[in-house]
């Protein structure tokens, strides 16, 4: 249980692990997450399930080494066991209805968007994929996504791969050129999801986003992952992590994610807040 079966280095700081855990693999659905702990004194951190294989009893995670825990996780090798690996947690994403769905993955958000696109593909839905990253070195899964997307657009901030610009530039063009978009799924950094929702709101396109809130237990107990959806306060761990993007209070989430920035910086000894 919890043995690392394979380790792919997607970029110097982004890694993909396939982990043996047949119980989680048997239940996992797109949009759910796991919580892991790498050693006795470690933190519990949530990571979205990036793929699962029920037959092989495996679950995949993709992570970027930005904090203490992800750095230690990144040092592990094939054959090592992850101390605690809990899940699947959260509720599966309710995929948008319709034949014309746009799936946008930004940065690390490409990992969680993958099983959702796969689910849609398996249902015969035509998906337009949009992958965005700062630069080509940290862009991953483009080949995998190309196989299951009807059309795939790639965009980088610096133009090192695909179009130069942001995922929102592509989204605007798709909306302009396509007849009708039935729904959008967008997963990525909060500012990106917010920018996407600002556009889809204008066109009244149902939009689903996934929130990577701070959490401890992941079962509704700590209340640390609270998020305002319309007029209601919800817990991302048991009510989400997928929510109606048009109702999410993104500003509040961006603030809440900075809660432990200072503490993390002290430990990591840098001032970037996980951006470098």
């Amino acid at each position: 249980m919890n043995t690392i079966i394979s380790k792919d280095i997607l970029s110097p700081s982004i890694k993909r692990y396939v982990i043996k855990n047949s119980k989680i693999a048997a239940k996992a659905e797109a949009g759910q997450f796991i919580i892991l702990r790498v050693h006795e004194k470690g933190e519990r951190i949530p990571l979205t399930i990036a793929d699962y294989d029920r037959e092989k009893g495996t679950v995949a995670i993709v992570f970027q080494e930005v904090g203490n825990t992800t750095q230690k996780l990144g040092e592990m090798e094939v054959g090592d066991k992850i101390l605690d690996f809990v899940g699947p947690l959260g509720v599966p994403t309710t995929l948008p209805q319709g034949d014309n769905i746009v799936c946008i993955g930004g940065g690390m958000g490409i990992a969680p968007i993958y099983p959702e696109v796969k689910s849609l593909y398996n249902k015969g839905v035509k998906v337009t994929g949009v992958l965005g990253a700062r630069t080509k070195d940290i862009l991953f899964f483009s080949n995998e996504m190309d196989k299951i997307c009807d059309k795939l657009y790639i965009v980088t901030d610096d133009g090192s791969q695909g179009r130069k610009g942001f995922v929102t530039d592509v989204l605007r063009d798709i909306i302009k050129n396509d007849n009708k978009i039935d729904g959008v799924i967008a997963v990525g950094p909060l500012p990106m999801m917010k920018a996407v929702c600002d556009i889809t709101k204008v066109h009244n396109i149902p939009t689903i986003v996934s929130l990577n809130s701070l959490m401890v237990d992941g079962t509704g107990m700590c209340g640390g992952c609270r998020v305002t959806i319309g007029d209601e306060v919800k817990f991302a761990c048991i009510d989400g992590p997928s929510f109606d993007g048009l109702k999410v209070d993104f500003d509040e989430q961006m603030r809440r994610l900075k809660m432990y920035k200072e503490e993390e910086e002290k430990v990591l000894g840098c001032k970037c807040g996980g951006e470098c």
Partner: protein, 450 residues
């Protein structure tokens, strides 16, 4: 009982009460009148033969005392520390009518701490399989009783450590974690199987457990859903639920950060809303984590505070201020979204409400603000919804708690029993243990009849 000096103890997480030594314990035990019809036993939810165990102490026979305790309670080191004895056994003690009641809880703790338990019980490897969901007080009590009755018991725990609220909720200075671990390890030595990191309702559903051959299931998943006041500003940075605050501090040992990697940000000025044991634990933890001013904000008066008297006393000794008859109306923050003020209103007590306590009413025009940089909401918890929502036909009451037959503890699903906070809403450790034990008896009957 000897205590750690308040000035010293607010700088450490070591246990506050130091416990009796042998002389003190024997002296206290000898005060017991050994009543023929002891009232104290009626006040014990698990029915410990209190006079007998006390008698063994006065006879200098601690092993015998532990045997007596163990007949009804396999977790005496925990119960001796965290039971509200003053409202249970000690409240009914005859000596207490004129003098101080016998310190039953302290004696229980003394026995548990000074006499290692030996696992005399035979592991129930032959019996039917029973699943226990949750390893808090209710689940542990149910498991230990089932074990004694010869069943094969598996406990499923969602977190990485067993113990539930004993591990994540109650601070080290009130209930050392090695004490909890030791008592749980004894159950494991006796044959209980423990599966951590298993979220029933997510990893495996309740009904799948029944399909896997467990003849009965006990749900003791507790009150793991924190309440908030639903006032403006509750999502500002620096506003915690007591559950989050205490879990970071206790289970994840944030007080040892960065050696232990879970951070916990505590400001200089802390307000804890609520006045139960959880509120006292949060306030006292905040003090130990470096806060300069910690106060309790509570809408009723001291007489209605739900916390144990001893905890309130200790909190005051440690410098926790009590803002009574005060109710928060909103929380305010700075430009970056960090909490900096809590706006409150004075309250006065009116006629009694459905709880029998006088209903607090706001005093018009009495609003004022307290400057804060951390707010901890300790106003209670509801039943955790993960199991109910993943289990069809499991009936709940209007508060979201699991409905059970009051005599047997059986839920609306045959073979599925429930007890503790998930049924009653947040209550005490020993009440949950009493319910777990009672359900074990019902499970025994149920399996024998089916």
């Amino acid at each position: 009982m000897p205590y750690q000096d308040p000035k010293k103890r607010i700088k450490n997480f070591d246990e506050v009460s130091l416990g009796y030594d042998k002389d003190l314990a024997i002296k206290e035990a000898k005060r017991c009148l050994q009543c023929k019809k002891p009232s104290c036993v009626k006040g014990c939810p698990v029915g410990i033969d209190i006079p007998s165990f006390i008698k063994e102490i006065s006879n200098d026979n601690y092993k015998g005392a532990l045997e007596k305790l163990k007949e009804k309670n396999l977790l005496p080191a925990i119960c001796g520390r965290v039971c509200p004895q003053e409202d249970q056994c000690e409240k009914l003690c005859i000596v207490g009518k004129k003098n101080e009641p016998i310190a039953i809880g302290r004696l229980e703790r003394f026995v548990a701490d000074n006499q290692k338990m030996t696992s005399k019980l035979k592991p129930g490897l032959e019996g039917e399989k029973v699943a226990v969901v949750g390893s808090g007080p209710a689940g542990l009590a149910c498991a230990s009783e089932l074990l004694q009755r010869g069943y094969r018991v598996t406990i499923f725990e969602a977190l990485h450590k067993p113990g539930g609220v004993l591990m994540y909720g109650i601070p080290e200075f009130r209930l050392p974690k090695d004490v909890v671990e030791q008592e749980i390890n004894q159950l494991v030595d006796m044959g209980v199987e423990l599966q951590t990191n298993m979220v029933i309702g997510q990893t495996i559903t309740l009904l799948e457990l029944l399909e896997k051959g467990y003849k009965a299931v006990f749900i003791g998943s507790g009150a793991g859903l924190p309440f908030f006041l639903n006032i403006p500003g509750e999502n500002l940075n620096g506003v915690y639920s007591a559950n989050e605050f205490l879990t970071r501090a206790n289970l994840m040992k944030a007080y040892l950060y960065p050696k232990w990697e879970t951070p916990l940000r505590v400001g200089k000025k802390v307000v804890v809303v609520g006045a139960g044991n959880v509120a006292m634990d949060s306030a006292r933890t905040a003090m130990r984590l470096g806060a300069k001013e910690v106060s309790i904000v509570y809408r009723r008066s001291e007489a209605e505070m739900p916390a144990r008297k001893e905890e309130i006393f200790h909190a005051k000794e440690e410098g926790i201020e009590m803002n009574l008859l005060t109710n928060p109306i909103s929380i305010e923050g700075d430009a970056e979204g960090w909490v900096n003020k809590i706006r409150c209103i004075n309250m006065e007590l009116g006629d009694p409400d459905e709880s029998g306590r006088r209903r607090p009413k706001p005093v018009k025009g009495s609003e004022f603000t307290i400057e804060v940089d951390t707010v901890i909401m300790a106003i209670g918890q509801g039943a955790n919804p993960v199991i109910p929502r993943s289990t069809k036909n499991l009936n709940l009451n209007d508060k979201g708690n699991i409905e059970v037959d009051s005599e047997t503890g059986q839920t609306s699903i045959e073979g599925v029993f429930a007890g503790g906070d998930v049924v009653t809403g947040a209550a005490t450790v020993i009440q949950a243990m009493g319910a777990g034990k009672q359900c074990a008896e019902s499970i025994d009957k149920y399996i024998k009849n089916n």
